[in-house]
């Protein structure tokens, strides 16, 4: 994959589906969108769960995600770090 290809940004819909598939946590994507500062811990997502989501995203996009995304505490900060990293397109 080359840098000039557009890497698809992470959406709250995809984040919700990743929380379900990687950690077994059901969450309404609209709720994530409306309350981006509600901590992952309140949904029952622990650090291993977030690590799994980062790994799955890296596999899907084929790029490394930088910026310590796996230590983000909220969906909002996670989106910011992940999409910032994807935009920079580090491979």
């Amino acid at each position: 994959m080359s840098n000039d290809q557009i890497i698809q940004a992470l959406t709250y819909d995809e984040l919700a589906s990743l929380m379900k598939s990687s950690a077994g946590i059901t969450v309404d994507p609209q709720h994530l969108t409306a309350s981006p500062d509600t901590p992952f811990a309140e949904y029952g997502l622990d650090s291993l769960g977030l690590l799994g989501i980062v790994g799955e995203l890296e596999n899907r996009r084929g790029v490394a995600i930088t910026g310590e995304a796996d230590s983000c505490k909220t969906p909002g900060s996670f989106m910011e770090v992940v999409n910032g990293s994807l935009k920079a397109g580090v491979i």
Partner: protein, 409 residues
């Protein structure tokens, strides 16, 4: 002060029933549920017959995140712990989180989960291994998850051992109560899920494993047809509580855990297990303040090979005399769920005492004459039961004995 340890809750997830009512009905009737192995990926293995837990729906028993994040053996343990806690009517006291501990025993671990992740490792690469692999396969997983989920911050432990470790876990829990260090109750037990391809292949190396193809011929201990043991999945969790604490909160003790002892005589050294068992039995009786005549029924280990059966029969005769005590082995109807097996026997012993009924040994009819055993076969036997002895031996050489008494106020 030596606080007395009592059982106030029992939760069973067994091949012959989920919940104590279903389990006891099948156990009392001597139903055998041994059948062809149907677990995914096990179809082509030389192991033909096992005791599978059917009708267990993890998604309805526990939260979805635990279904995804933990192995089947932890699903069983968490569901059984819930049943035991409900039976005991015990929940976390937010003011006293350190009053309740958790102890489980495990001999098999999370083989199904681990195999899936290792297949990703070698099939797709290390980036495809999920992070829950780091905890889900591990022997300690069930203790950790039950502790975190229930908010139980008291003494927690894991006995990673062979079959007899199930009884050692109970003893470990009792010691925490006896010492009076602020622990009032321990959620204790074992549940195993060794019927997955990787785990099953590991067991194929056991000379004692039965590879018989017919379910009614595969596990016949104490008979001339003994050809090894049938493996099983499932187990039981108990709430073990200090008597004073149980009475103070109005809980009803179901039985007293009176004595335990364990010995080690080496892997597959079954002749030596005779003396190991005798010492374990005598040690457990001593701790319980019992003499052999006090024991009303023995739940045998019943490994199912001629030499192991002989050694156990000799050990029972050494202590109780030939035909000296009724002996039963309900596990011939379910198979041996490794560490979960003696937990199921302990649950059955409590239920036997409560119902005044010695459950039979399913499928076994012609007991070897030379063993001197009064083995209860065919139908359940009614009897006034005050004290039961549970025996367990492991393939790695452990021997253990547990004395369970009726509770009298």
């Amino acid at each position: 002060m030596n606080r007395q340890a009592v059982i106030t809750g029992i939760g069973v997830v067994a091949p012959n029933g989920i919940g104590t009512d279903a389990f006891w009905k099948a156990t009392r009737e001597g139903v055998s549920v041994l059948d062809r192995v149907t677990r995914k990926g096990c179809e082509g293995l030389p192991l033909r017959v096992a005791g599978e837990v059917h009708g267990f729906d993890a998604a309805s028993a526990i939260e979805e995140r635990f279904v995804v994040q933990t192995d089947r053996f932890t699903h069983f343990a968490m569901a059984a712990a819930d049943l035991a806690l409900a039976d005991a009517r015990l929940s976390t006291d937010p003011d006293e989180p350190f009053a309740v501990g958790v102890v489980t025993a495990a001999g098999s671990g999370g083989g199904e989960f681990g195999q899936r992740e290792l297949q990703r490792l070698w099939g797709q690469g290390p980036r495809f291994v999920g992070p829950y692999q780091s905890i889900a396969w591990f022997y300690a997983a069930s203790t950790g998850q039950i502790s975190i989920r229930g908010g139980f911050k008291g003494p927690c432990g894991v006995v990673a051992s062979d079959e007899a470790g199930g009884l050692d876990a109970i003893a470990h829990a009792c010691r925490n109560l006896h010492r009076d260090t602020g622990t009032d109750a321990v959620v204790v037990g074992a549940a195993e899920a060794p019927l997955a391809p990787y785990s099953a292949v590991c067991q194929l190396g056991y000379a004692e494993l039965s590879l018989a193809a017919e379910a009614d011929r595969a596990y016949l201990p104490f008979t001339a047809h003994a050809c090894g043991f049938v493996p099983a999945e499932g187990g039981a969790m108990l709430v073990v509580e200090a008597l004073d604490h149980a009475l103070a909160r109005g809980a009803e003790p179901r039985a007293v855990l009176a004595g335990h002892a364990a010995t080690f005589t080496g892997p597959s050294r079954w002749a030596e297990s005779r003396e190991g068992l005798v010492r374990a039995i005598r040690g457990a009786l001593d701790e319980a303040g019992c003499v052999p005549a006090d024991i009303d029924v023995v739940f045998a280990d019943a490994l199912g090979t001629p030499d192991a059966d002989l050694a156990e029969a000799q050990a029972i005769s050494d202590v109780f005399g030939p035909h000296g005590v009724p002996v039963t082995a309900p596990k011939t109807g379910t198979g041996r769920a490794y560490c979960g097996s003696p937990l199921l026997d302990t649950a059955a012993a409590v239920l036997a005492i409560e119902h005044g009924t010695v459950p039979p040994t399913p499928q076994v009819t012609e007991v070897r004459d030379d063993l001197g055993l009064d083995l209860v076969t065919g139908r359940a036997r009614s009897a006034r039961l005050r004290t039961a002895l549970v025996l367990s031996r492991g393939l790695m050489g452990s021997n253990a004995a547990l004395v369970v008494k009726e509770y009298t106020p």
